[in-house]
Amino acid sequence: MPAVTFVLASGAIQEVPLTEGSSLMEIAKMHAVPGIDGDCGGCCACGTCHVIVDEAWRNRLPPITSAEAQMLAIHAGADPGSRLACQIPATAALDGLRVRVPDHQF
């Protein structure tokens, strides 16, 4: 079964099966990945689903929209690999994706 890997702030690793039709934020919440809050329910309006994508995967994800870029622009912990998980649709093509969960969400 296709899955993505969340590397938690503690260093622990959590593999989560991909459910098509939802977002990376939603599947993280569905499987209670600690550190993903998703306070706006996926509207790209809170920045609390921040993840840092493994280098190898950065160019394989859908591009960052201007709304996502704007939320990342005010994010103090932003990094070149930063994405908002609610803006990444979960598809089978993401099988093997690795993202890091920051130690705090803003």
């Binding site: 306070d39 706006c40 329910g41 509207c43 790209c44 622009a73 005010i74 103090a76 130690d103 803003f106």
Partner: protein, 473 residues
């Protein structure tokens, strides 16, 4: 002299005033501005400030929907806000009233519509001001909460470090020890005002820490913040422009002193602290902010207003909510691990700030209504948080509500509350320390509610505590 000549003359004066801003001490500038504005008011005969006199408001269903006015500063106090907003959500979720004391106002009352507006800073600008009415002329401080990107982003990034995760970690033990101190000093078995003894005291201590402000003078911060947030012209509060001017002059003098003092200490080799002034002094973008007085004052005022009665009223609101829903308190005592979710639910249920304002940057449509460029839109967070389309049994306080975190009290989009994690931290610690100390917090009478259409707050909440029975082990 003709009136038009007078006004031209005044606008010259306006410009020269701006030119001297960088050189004259800030408090004197504010006093000068005050005299100037009073003079201008007299010369141009501008309408006097509004004064709000309380009278019983009509029931929600007693007026035609077009005439329903949710802007009254007494709506919350009179217990009518829920029925007004429910009617608006159901019958006219994007509602125009052209004749409020604050001018024409669009009231946006459903969760989804509020989200649409808050997210779209291009269509709906936060400039020039984010509450219902207008500030007194001359006191329109430059705050990034009322700026659009990219200016907003630069200023927010410059100060955001004061609430960074690292800073919050450093602050946690300090907040905890102060919370313990305050709770341990409370009388047991005798009535007292929770607002004064706990909510105001704890937030004042927090603000003094954030600014590294002289601890024994912390109540001045509360006073300035209360003044700034309760202007009659801006939110229907009780503060006049004259009172605001003198408080701002006092604040400017104190903060200028604080700034120079800190700068001297850092120059002498003292390591900068994790307070806001140290942060501004050591960041290249903001090192010279003192030379831009309105921006300097604006940023400090934003932090003390942002972090003052919001957290304060959540501290009081939580106690009141538990009083109204006693089974939730029993649930909490049996499951203290619910505290983090309960904190989100308290903030949802209380909605310390009822609204934020936006202005349409172009003709547009929203919820089937035609909005004109320049129209004022009020996002009623207090209503969105009670929208039954989003929250089941929305009026009830339910500490394990599954989607409590999706409340709108912190706003959404680029202006989302910068202090939200700090507020949650303060409230979490407060409840973690309340539980082992007190068996009951009995609310003795109906709380007194402040006059405002913006701040949803308590001025008095009389309670009596019974101590927890010591467990023998």
């Amino acid at each position: 002299m003709k009136l038009t000549d007078r006004i031209t003359e005044l606008s010259h004066l306006d410009r020269s005033l701006q030119a001297v801003q960088a050189r004259v001490p800030m408090d004197l500038q504010i006093k000068g501005m005050h005299l100037y504005q009073r003079l201008k008011r007299r010369l141009t005969g501008r309408a006097a400030e509004p004064r709000f006199i309380e009278y019983p408001l009509p029931a929600a269903d007693a007026v035609p929907i077009e005439a329903l006015d949710p802007t009254s500063p007494f709506l919350y106090r009179q217990g009518l806000w829920q029925s007004y907003f429910k009617r608006l959500r159901d019958e006219a979720p994007v509602h125009w009233n052209g004749h409020t004391p604050f001018g024409g106002v669009w009231s946006i009352t459903r969760y989804d519509d509020i989200m649409t507006v808050d997210r779209d800073h291009e269509r709906f600008s936060a400039e020039p001001f984010i509450v219902m009415g207008e500030p007194p002329e001359g006191l329109d401080l430059a705050m990034f909460i009322a700026m659009d990107p990219p200016r907003h982003d630069r200023q927010r990034m410059a100060v955001q470090g004061v609430v960074s995760p690292r800073n919050l970690q450093e602050m946690e033990s300090l907040i905890r020890s102060r919370t313990r101190e305050v709770l341990d000093s409370l009388p047991l078995g005798t009535p007292f005002n929770w607002v004064e003894r706990v909510s105001i005291e704890l937030t004042a201590r927090m603000l003094a820490t954030l600014l590294d402000f002289p601890y024994e003078q912390r109540h001045r911060l509360v006073k300035w913040s209360d003044t700034a947030a309760n202007l009659a012209s801006a939110t229907g509060g009780t503060v006049t422009a004259d009172e605001a001017f003198s408080a701002m002059a006092e604040m400017a003098a104190a903060f200028t002193r604080l700034w120079h003092d800190k700068a001297r200490r850092i120059a002498a080799g003292e390591p900068p602290g994790f307070d806001l002034i140290s942060l501004l002094l050591t960041s290249p973008d903001t090192r010279d902010m003192i030379e831009r007085p309105l921006e300097f004052l604006g940023n400090l005022a934003l932090l003390i207003v942002g972090g003052n009665d919001t957290t304060r009223n959540s501290m009081s609101g939580g106690v009141y909510a538990h009083h109204l829903y006693p089974s939730e308190f029993a649930k909490l005592k049996a499951n203290p691990e619910l505290i983090p979710n309960m904190v989100a639910e308290i903030i949802r249920w209380q909605t310390p700030l009822a609204h934020m304002r936006r202005v349409a940057t172009r003709d547009t449509r929203l919820g089937g209504q035609f909005i004109r460029r320049g129209d004022k839109l009020i996002m009623w967070y207090a209503s969105g948080n009670r929208d039954e389309r989003k929250f089941e049994n929305a009026d009830a306080f339910i500490i394990d509500r599954p989607n409590a975190r999706q409340h709108m009290s912190f706003g959404f989009g680029v202006h989302r509350c910068m202090g939200n994690r700090l507020a949650e931290l303060q409230l979490r610690i407060l409840w973690e320390e309340i539980l082992p100390r007190f068996d009951t917090i009995e609310v003795l009478e109906k709380p007194q509610i402040v006059q405002s259409n913006f701040v949803r707050g308590y001025s008095r909440l009389m309670v009596r505590l019974t101590p927890a029975r010591r467990q023998t082990s």
